[in-house]
């Protein structure tokens, strides 16, 4: 099994850390992983994306043109990456701020109103965990227990009190994701 993923959105949406938690938990499950960000000058407000590969085999190229799953969090990223989903692949997107919705027929498209949900739950910080929950529902590769382990590893000790909130967010994400086509 090899799952090739791109996550793309604004800087500040937690794109990179979501990718990191995915990679970390897959690693804890014994898989091979790679996490390759597109990096820019360290300034706010730009776009950010990351290629994540989870696989049972040694990973060759960490940089890809086509993906099994694209997780898309703003319009710019939609314009750039909709076409890069492999036929038969999966596209997950947050509808917030999207003006042109995905149009492909040869892929599975899911929508998750994570931004809305996050602000409804007053948990803006865990927006990306809601999205992750959606992904975990659609592609059941990552196990929640390992994701939590991953969170523990990546959060500094003093934030460990936030872990229940993250767990909650993942659960919500699993609940609210909806197939579009």
């Amino acid at each position: 099994m090899t799952e090739e993923i791109i996550i793309a959105g604004f800087g500040g949406q937690g794109v990179l850390s979501m990718g990191k938690i995915m990679a970390y938990s897959a690693m804890m499950q014994g898989m091979e992983v790679s996490w390759m960000p597109s990096y820019g000058p360290e300034m706010r407000g730009g776009t950010a994306n990351v290629n994540v590969i989870l696989s049972d085999e040694r990973i060759s190229s960490p940089i890809l043109r086509n993906f099994d799953t694209a997780i898309i969090l703003n319009q710019q990223s939609m314009d750039k990456f909709e076409q890069s989903v492999k036929p038969g692949g999966t596209l997950i997107y947050d509808g917030n701020g999207i003006t042109r919705h995905p149009e492909r027929k040869d892929i599975d498209i899911y929508r998750i109103e994570a931004a809305e949900e996050a602000s409804a739950m007053k948990m803006q910080k865990v927006f990306n965990m809601i999205v992750l929950g959606g992904f975990m529902k659609v592609k059941p590769i990552l196990k929640t227990e390992y994701v939590i382990k991953g969170l523990k590893k990546s959060l500094p000790e003093r934030y460990h009190n936030l872990i229940p909130m993250n767990e909650e967010a993942i659960k919500r994400g699993m609940e609210i994701i909806q197939k579009v086509n």
Partner: protein, 355 residues
């Protein structure tokens, strides 16, 4: 002791591996895409644990000359930078080579020339392997292709640097520096307390004074020294060539690629073989010394070699020099921070095969 499993960026893995390898000192100046090395080290603060010195210098020029001073004490010292910063270090590097000092220099390459981009590239190959500084000298150059190798090559570099009393360069790129992968880290080594016989650490009554210099005003003596260097490089060429082969047994065509490009070529091999093209890969791990002999042998077996680089064509010259006309050699490259996809590499292999 068990190796420790971590998920890390290449830059971080290299920094952590330096601490664990018992490095004595790091001297550097920030530049993207490798600032994480200095940042990781200042955060880890090894001065408090192993005693390793970590210092942000006022410039790359100062940093490489700090390395010179530290290496002259027989210490395991290193610096890191990215392309423009490495260009600034050229005088210092040739001094270190000329004074026969061991050290580690890391270049996490970005696109050039000039300020260029901050995205990954492999366009500093000539500079690294032929000598970006003046005079007849060479670095021993290692090209990691994974986060694991970013970590592993640190200790290897120090070993080689001290074995040959020669600076070693890890020629990485922004992709390997910035990406995260699994990495097994070795346990912490103690810093060496040995005082090396040639090092300038204060002259005891029991030995002659030690002098570290790259100067010889007498050209006859200088030439003898140059011949000594030539002999050293020849010895490296005999003993230190490292490379990896993928599916070369039945290969009719061969990719030659290092670092990130080699990773992409591995995937390209899968894609190409799925289309019935028998292609393999030789991945040079040492860029200097270059795997000339093996490439020359393969030159008799394959119908052609395609050098895949993130550059306008630099390593391809060493491939051509290796096969010396025995087989067709061509180049496919992306530049300026662009990275070829496996798919486009296959497309270009097909064009190459057609001739």
């Amino acid at each position: 002791m068990e190796k420790e499993l971590k998920l890390m960026k290449g830059n971080e893995a290299l920094a952590e591996a330096a601490i664990r390898a018992g490095a004595d000192g790091y001297f550097g100046y920030p530049i993207t895409p490798q600032s994480e090395i200095l940042e990781y080290l200042t955060e880890a603060n090894p001065q408090a644990t192993t005693g390793m010195v970590v210092l942000q210098a006022e410039s790359e020029v100062a940093a490489i000359n700090m390395v010179y001073g530290g290496a002259a004490c027989g210490k395991k010292v290193m610096t890191s930078s990215s392309s423009p910063g490495i260009s600034l270090k050229q005088e210092g590097i040739t001094y270190i080579a000329g004074a026969e000092l061991p050290c580690l220099i890391v270049n996490v390459v970005r696109g050039g020339p000039g300020l260029g981009t901050i995205q990954p590239a492999q366009s500093d190959y000539f500079q690294a392997t032929k000598g970006g500084g003046h005079g007849d000298y060479h670095l021993l150059v290692l090209a990691p292709a994974s986060v694991q190798e970013m970590a592993d090559f640190v200790e290897l570099s120090f070993d080689l640097a001290f074995k040959y009393r020669n600076p070693v360069m890890i020629l990485s790129d922004g992709a390997i520096g910035q990406m995260m992968e699994k990495v097994y880290l070795k346990p912490q080594k103690k810093r060496s307390e040995e005082i090396l016989p040639w090092a300038t650490t204060g002259k005891p009554a029991t030995r002659e004074r030690n002098i570290i210099t790259s100067l010889d005003l007498d050209p006859e003596r200088q030439e003898k020294f140059n011949l000594k260097l030539v002999a050293k490089y020849r010895e490296m060429a005999e003993k230190e060539v490292r490379f990896e082969e993928f599916q070369t047994d039945d290969a009719e065509y061969l990719f030659v690629a290092y670092g990130t490009s080699a990773r992409i070529c591995q995937k390209a091999i899968q894609l190409a073989r799925a289309q019935g093209i028998k292609v393999g890969l030789l991945r040079p791990i040492t860029l200097f010394p270059f795997p000339k002999k093996r490439l020359n042998e393969l030159g008799s077996k394959v119908k052609g070699m395609l050098a895949v680089e993130m550059s306008a064509g630099q390593m391809v010259e060493d491939v051509m020099l290796s096969v010396n006309g025995k087989t067709r050699v061509s180049h496919y490259g992306r530049m300026g921070g662009m990275i070829a996809t496996p798919e486009e590499v296959v497309e270009n292999l097909k064009i190459f095969i057609k001739g």
